[in-house]
């Protein structure tokens, strides 16, 4: 009997049943996808970390090195399990030719290495340490992804010919967000290249107790060992490796969460409408003595069937979609050890969705207890409560056309009913606007203000070296003489120590110079103007627990000096930990010199950069826009894809829910529609009334969604961006987002309303008005 009842019901309400199933499918797909992707991402990172035997502590160093001193520090420190120093031969991009492509414009620090003897292995795509033979070159996997290199291509490194025989995974520097990339060559080839580049060192430690990494870091700094470069830990490598895909998972999670809310709202709306429709039947069943549990079973069984089919399809779809989405993770990090766990968790997630749906149906069906058999049979479903006070009278309306007035009045009088559609439209607008605003913000030229440098055209960087003073003079002379340069400023990065709140000392890199020449945005306070003022990057502010107005003690060879924190800014470069001051301290060692440059003619950026690189071969010239593009290019592209997908999903939800809602509304309003037709209202009149309802809700939904997107949405995007070190993100929007998108939603809603209410014209007056 149940089977027949369910079958008849499903056939009679095909659209509603399919829509419900689609939502349950979408819900399961997303929940299951998040499970699969998260587990695989964690698994792949773990596998890569294990296979490559990543160092737990890494100090990059530029300059002279005392290996013996380091060796004795490692031997003396109880937490050190293993220690090594690897060479990283930094060769300028102009000297690297991969097939047809030159890395001249590449902003990465491209370095050449030989395979490590002990740990920190460079791996092939099977996860095995590579042992190249002479003339062979292994290229970072990222360059394969970008299409810069192919296996079999000939490569020319500083004039020496190599053959690209494979790609390598580097647990440290895989991510496009890591600023360096390692190439792997044979020891003999490496020796031939040494004279062509500048040597940097990777001072690497494996620790016995990972929990004591911070203590080790402090001990290393206290020992005054080589530290002319960034300090990194294994935890940070994991974060950098997982960030790009993590953002994608976070976005799926957000959309998934909203879809779950929408799906449950739709289930609630359709079920309550169905109960209302079946009120007399339910009353009759109660009256003839059917137990409540039996009556409930009929409803639960139907939704259980829909949920079961929806969950199964969703699960299968998640397996299908996970393939392409895992592609990037697999390429960069290899297979995950937890693949089978991810499948189990996906199945578990789908079961949770199924049980949640059934549980929710049971929860909604509680109201059966309140149905009185007698009144249900006599009068049908109870009337909706009308507004207690009536402020708008049709007979007093002189402004709106009658049909428009009736439409709006209906929405205002039955707010509870229309709330479902309103919330769905509001969330759709939110899903649409937030990713697009994020994309617009990240791709806008003003985004550089979050990167820790001002609105410049070019940046010239120079590491500390023996010829430092001569080189510096050469650069200054060049910049002063060049006619294409409008303005430039010299910023010197120096390494100091600063006292933390707990009294311990930590390394701090301070950029010294005039920070008002190329101003950046401070999300608190302002740039340092007095010699005793300092501005901290937000990561440093957190690290040292400082706010604007606090003081911080900076230790140099001249002694301890107290600075007042004048401002806090966002910075995503150099590990996000920087500081800015104007004082010049000659005692501290210079790490690098930067020159921020503004050109007279911005169309000449590329040309000027090339000229500069040729005239000053010892510097690195960075095109600010290009730099942003290369660091964030992949992330910006993913955000754009996510924004496009969100747009389509949101429009689809808008259309589907509007259609479903209007169909149910027409079914619910049958007597009123029949009455209006009887007293002479035409089908066009009815269409206008329902269109008004749809539009009115849409306008409120879009307005509400936009406000929500700009407040709550901005905070969410800000939270995601904060993981890059970008604080206080403010959306930069585009008129099309607030004008074009509502028009798209309007068109979809109009179309859905038109289709959804097309049955209104076919409602037979006689059948629906008699009783």
């Amino acid at each position: 009997m149940y089977y027949r009842m369910i079958r008849n019901d499903l056939l009679r309400n095909k659209l509603i049943s399919i829509t419900m199933m689609l939502f349950i499918t979408a819900m399961t797909t997303l929940v299951s996808l998040v499970a699969i992707l998260t587990i695989n991402l964690i698994g792949s990172i773990d596998t890569l970390t294990k296979q490559a035997e990543v160092p737990d502590f890494l100090q990059m160093h530029n300059g002279d090195i005392d290996t013996e001193r380091l060796q004795s520090f490692a031997a003396a420190h109880e937490n050190v399990k293993d220690f090594q120093v690897l060479d990283f031969l930094n060769i300028t991009g102009a000297k690297i030719q991969l097939g047809e492509n030159s890395l001249m414009d590449n902003i990465q620090d491209n370095g050449f290495s030989t395979q490590s003897p002990k740990f920190d292995y460079l791996l092939d795509l099977d996860g095995q340490p590579i042992q190249p033979t002479e003339g062979e070159l292994y290229v970072p996997i990222g360059y394969m992804k970008e299409g810069i290199a192919q296996i079999g291509d000939e490569a020319k490194i500083a004039g020496k010919a190599f053959q690209i025989v494979g790609f390598l995974r580097d647990a440290q520097m895989n991510s496009p967000l890591a600023s360096s990339k390692r190439f792997l060559v044979h020891e003999k080839d490496y020796q031939e290249l040494v004279s062509e580049g500048t040597l940097e060192y990777l001072i690497e430690f494996q620790l016995k107790a990972l929990s004591k990494t911070n203590e080790f870091e402090t001990a290393y700094a206290d020992a005054g060992l080589e530290a002319n470069g960034p300090t990194l830990t294994s935890g940070l490598f994991k974060i950098i490796n997982g960030l790009s895909d993590g953002i994608m998972i976070a976005m799926i999670l957000l959309v998934g969460f909203l879809i779950v809310i929408i799906a449950f709202m739709c289930i609630r709306f359709t079920l309550l409408t169905k109960i209302e429709e079946d009120y007399r039947e339910i009353g009759t069943m109660k009256a003839i003595g059917l137990p409540l549990t039996d009556i409930k079973k009929i409803y639960v069984a139907k939704y259980a069937l829909l949920a079961l089919v929806g969950c199964l399809i969703g699960l299968l779809l998640s397996f299908t979609f996970s393939g392409p989405l895992l592609e990037n993770i697999r390429l960069y990090m290899g297979e995950s050890d937890y693949a089978s766990w991810s499948i189990l968790l996906a199945i578990f997630g789908s079961m949770v969705v199924f049980l949640l749906v059934i549980g929710y149906i049971h929860f909604l069906l509680r109201r059966f207890r309140k149905i009185s058999a007698a009144s249900a049979i006599r009068t049908g479903s109870p009337e909706e409560k009308n507004a207690r006070k009536n402020y708008f009278f049709l007979s007093k309306n002189r402004v709106l056309p009658t049909n428009v007035f009736i439409g709006i009045k209906d929405v205002l009088s039955r707010k509870k009913l229309y709330a479902t559609m309103l919330i769905v439209l509001l969330l759709s607008c939110f899903i649409m606007v937030v990713p697009w605003n994020t994309y617009q913000t990240v791709s806008s030229p003003t985004f550089t203000k979050y990167l820790g440098f001002g609105d410049m055209d070019l940046m010239v960087s120079m590491y500390q070296s023996d010829e430092h003073v001569d080189n510096e003079q050469q650069v200054v002379n060049y910049l002063n003489e060049s006619e294409s340069i409008e303005q430039f400023v010299q910023i010197t990065s120096k390494s100091f120590k600063a006292k933390k709140e707990d009294g311990s000392e930590e390394k701090i890199v301070i950029e010294l110079g005039d920070h008002n020449a190329f101003p950046i945005e401070y999300h608190a306070g302002k740039a340092p103007e007095q010699p005793n003022e300092i501005a901290l990057s937000s990561m440093n502010a957190t690290e040292f627990e400082k706010q604007v107005g606090d003081t911080i003690e900076i230790i140099s060879d001249n002694g301890t000096e107290t600075f007042v924190v004048s401002g806090i800014y966002s910075n995503i470069l150099n590990g996000g930990k920087t500081a800015k001051a104007i004082s010049s301290d000659e005692s501290a060692p210079t790490m690098r010199l930067n020159y921020y440059i503004k050109l007279n003619d911005t169309s000449q950026i590329a040309g000027t950069a090339k000229e500069m690189s040729e005239a000053l071969p010892f510097v690195k010239v960075t095109d600010a826009d290009n730099h942003k593009q290369q660091v964030f290019g992949a992330t910006i592209a993913s955000i754009k894809t996510a924004a496009n997908v969100s747009l389509i999903v949101a429009l689809f939800i808008t259309g589907l829910v509007s259609l479903l809602f209007m169909k149910l509304l027409v079914a619910k309003d049958r007597p009123a529609i029949a009455m209006l037709k009887a007293i002479g209202f035409t089908n066009q009149d009815l269409s206008k009334q329902y269109t008004t309802r749809g539009m009115f809700i849409l306008i409120i939904g879009v307005a509400g969604g936009s406000i929500l997107a700009n407040t709550f949405g901005e905070s969410i995007a800000g939270m995601v961006m904060a993981s890059f070190g970008i604080e206080a993100l403010t959306f930069v929007s585009h008129p099309i987002i607030y004008l074009g998108f509502p028009v798209l939603m309007l068109l979809v809603t109009l179309l859905a309303t038109k289709i959804g209410t097309s049955q209104a014209g076919k409602i037979a007056i006689a059948e629906n008005i008699k009783e």
């Binding site: 007979s395 007093k396 009658t402 009887a678 009783e771």
Partner: protein
């Protein structure tokens, strides 16, 4: 006398599941200007269907219906809507209103559709109608704040707002107590006296007895007719008896 409705050989079938049920089997009837006609018959005899088809609210399978010499069978949906709105008025057994509009707004609704600018004038007219039917003080109440009888009178006011040529009433007293039913019938009689043609479907012999002609239906056909003439109150009981006797004969 001028014919308001002329129906010839109308057939109407309802399709129920797998079988078809013929509800009207070649009904022919004429209603003249100013008449007050009742239709009586047992349940399922087709009396309500006749009312809905004669008013153009329901379609017919074959036959011909004219309203004021205009054929309803050739009219499109929009034309039929215009005729219903401008020339007909309807009163239903269950007074159906837009629940979120006040009573006065429901009454002016069919008139405002064509005369949006005349809201004030129409509101005054609605108030006069409400006064006439004895519920003048309920104009700005919501529909759930008044009794069934009061609501039915509001329904009559709505039917009259466009000064229709004819009113169709489908068991207008069916859901009311006897006191309310009496008051409603007084309203109908008054409207009829003022010249509006009325076609009313009822089960109640006392209600039918107040009309001047009664059509008796059985199994989809008009099987008998009773001419009572205009009502004069002292003879109401006699007329009711006549209608009852005729009805019993029809049902046997």
């Amino acid at each position: 006398m001028k014919k308001v409705i002329n129906a010839q050989h109308i057939h109407k079938t309802f399709a129920a599941e797998k079988e078809k049920v013929m509800v009207l089997k070649g009904v022919s009837t004429t209603i003249y200007k100013g008449e007050f006609v009742s239709v009586m018959g047992p349940s399922g005899s087709g009396k309500s269907t006749l009312l809905y088809t004669l008013s153009g609210m329901d379609t017919i399978d074959s036959g011909e219906i004219t309203f004021n010499d205009q054929s309803l069978t050739v009219c499109g949906e929009t034309e039929l809507s215009d005729i219903r709105r401008q020339q007909m008025g309807f009163v239903f057994q269950q007074p159906t209103f837009l629940k979120n509009l006040a009573i006065i707004d429901n009454i002016v609704l069919p008139a405002l559709r064509d005369n949006r600018k005349k809201g004030k004038e129409l509101a005054n007219k609605a108030k006069q109608l409400l006064e006439r039917t004895g519920i003048g003080d309920l104009a700005y109440r919501m529909t759930n704040q008044v009794s069934g009888g009061q609501l039915q009178r509001a329904g009559i006011c709505r039917a009259l707002i466009n000064e229709p040529k004819m009113i169709f009433a489908d068991e207008p007293t069916g859901a009311l107590n006897s006191k309310s039913a009496e008051e409603i019938m007084k309203n109908f009689l008054q409207i009829n006296q003022e010249g509006t043609t009325i076609l009313l479907v009822t089960h109640d012999a006392k209600v039918a007895a107040q009309s001047e002609r009664v059509l008796f239906m059985k199994d989809g056909q008009i099987v008998d007719e009773l001419h009572l003439g205009k009502l004069s109150n002292p003879f109401l009981e006699n007329r009711t008896e006549k209608v009852t006797r005729k009805m019993l004969k029809v049902e046997m």
